[in-house]
Symmetry: C2
Subunit: 340 residues, 2 copies
Amino acid sequence: MPAPAPTLRSLAKLLGLSRTTVSDALRGSPRVDPRTAQRVQQAAREAGYRRNPLAGALMSELRRSRGSAFHGVLAAIDFNEPDRPQDSATYHRELVAGLDARATDLGFKIERFSVGHAGVSVQRLDSILQSRGINGIVLLPAWDEPDLSNLDWARFAGVYTDYIIERPRLHTVCPDHYRSLLSALQLLATRGWTRPGLYLQKHQDERLQYRWSAAFRAFQDSHPQIRALPPLITDHFDRAEFQAWFRRHKPDVVLGHHVEAVDWMQACGARVPATHGFVSINLHMKTRPCAGLDLQPRALGARSAELLIAQLQRNETGIPEWPTTTTLPGRWVEGPTLRS
Amino acid sequence: MPAPAPTLRSLAKLLGLSRTTVSDALRGSPRVDPRTAQRVQQAAREAGYRRNPLAGALMSELRRSRGSAFHGVLAAIDFNEPDRPQDSATYHRELVAGLDARATDLGFKIERFSVGHAGVSVQRLDSILQSRGINGIVLLPAWDEPDLSNLDWARFAGVYTDYIIERPRLHTVCPDHYRSLLSALQLLATRGWTRPGLYLQKHQDERLQYRWSAAFRAFQDSHPQIRALPPLITDHFDRAEFQAWFRRHKPDVVLGHHVEAVDWMQACGARVPATHGFVSINLHMKTRPCAGLDLQPRALGARSAELLIAQLQRNETGIPEWPTTTTLPGRWVEGPTLRS
DNA sequence: GCAAATCTTCCGGACAGTCCGAATCATGCC
DNA sequence: GGCATGATTCGGACTGTCCGGAAGATTTGC
């Protein structure tokens, strides 16, 4: 018969102290006599006491927010960037939808906030969140490098829903671009395509640390039967540049973000999907029906909610010691720009 | 002045019922009169009641486990592979150490099991785990593709601590090889190294879907001032092959797993660290002091424990609908094989 | 027809750890 | 001696859940 697990109260009784003194002592509060604190800590070690992190999280929240009880509200922060491309709106929306759905399942609620330019300042955000008793934050993808280092992170737990954030270094959740592109290329190879071409905007590749082009090159290197066409990586989408590249290297299937490339290919005499193919590497940016990769923003949003809520349940706030990246491979979707 | 948020107790008082009846009613317990339940639910909606998810999780766990000493036991499964290289033993040990430490923090305990060859069969494992009431499983890295699809996954939550597992498709936790190598190369570039060379065993690159070589190529592509030497990727570590490659391409710094390459370089006339450098891309495989990347198995183990325990606390078992990969960048470590 | 058994519905106790105001006691100063 | 100050400890209140049992209604058995 195993002995029941020691609790604050049983430990207190053992020591002839009150549960509060024991609690304060274990957390190193200056309100207790150092000698008492030491005695308590030793007794805790010997009794094998382990504090229940869930209870800790609950009580800390409950006591701190005095009255306006913890209601599990999470903030979704949108960076109001004027130069962000419009075509990422669908992706954003789906991300928030997944976030919302999963958070609701787990008993939390999402509220959206806008920061920068048309939105509030970071300092204002800090006081808004603190007065509302919100301490879980999801940062929606930003086009440029976001900076929220001015927030008082000791009070918050946060997740960024894109590859890299340095200010501060938080856990991130994002698509597995590398693996997604690799499996798309593998699928195309089994269907007989031998001259895949990649068309990217430079900024899109750089912000992912070249993961798109790296996967493309790695696939070429490991598949000798595939023609190693050089990818076209340009500063801006440009018809003339694309067509020069297309005519010169003659890809049979083009992979890229910009669906309008289909028109440009057809203007060069290619027939899509009869003779040539086009594959979108982010279907949420498409402006017309298309085959390609669904990067699954909805599932990413759900996963972000889980990650954040797990932190809150462990009562973990602040910048993580070892920030991690959680990735999800894309899902292949058939479409009219590729013959089956 | 905002009204205080409604709680179970305030709602119960309003309705003239006890807090337990209200709680049961809101969770659809068959113990309450359906008419009462409906009345409660309507009142809750009108009052805008939202249950505190933290308190819910805590109490649910508390009541269910009825004062047992620990909240649960997790299984760490080791695949007993005869052909696994010996040099991964340190990495394994550190991984388990991190797992154990974090699990203990969170009120869980780790027990190790061995499967295959010298260990038990998968079917035997299934019955052992079920009879012991264990339902959280961490799979330690396997050299070949592990197969645990025969386990009755409806009862288990699992995490694999390496890149890819297909049988079944679980969440995984592993180093971010791509990002680690990229930042190591960037660091070397800022220190003036211009001819980095990569030396890999083929199997090591393939099981990571070419992430090592892809990062190496991506770095070369994006840094024109760096000489793009071809990586040496061989079936086995081979001195003659290495030296031929070294003499021909003259790398000034070599990155790889196999520290013995330092001897081979020196036999070719290179002086390490005076004129040339060597960087290990997995310091836990080193057989002598060395500069390089610590892939942080301890932190990975800790993260695996968190991921698994979060699933258990949400009461989620079975194969996840969308398996994700959680990665952690390596940490740069100085050493005697590289001048500062 | 009435006691006993069964079922329905609701209630109360116990539980976790935290925070802050209040209580208690010792010490210093005039 | 009286009062202010400081050091230390304590108690109350807080969240939602589970289960044993109370109270009352209904059915069963003879």
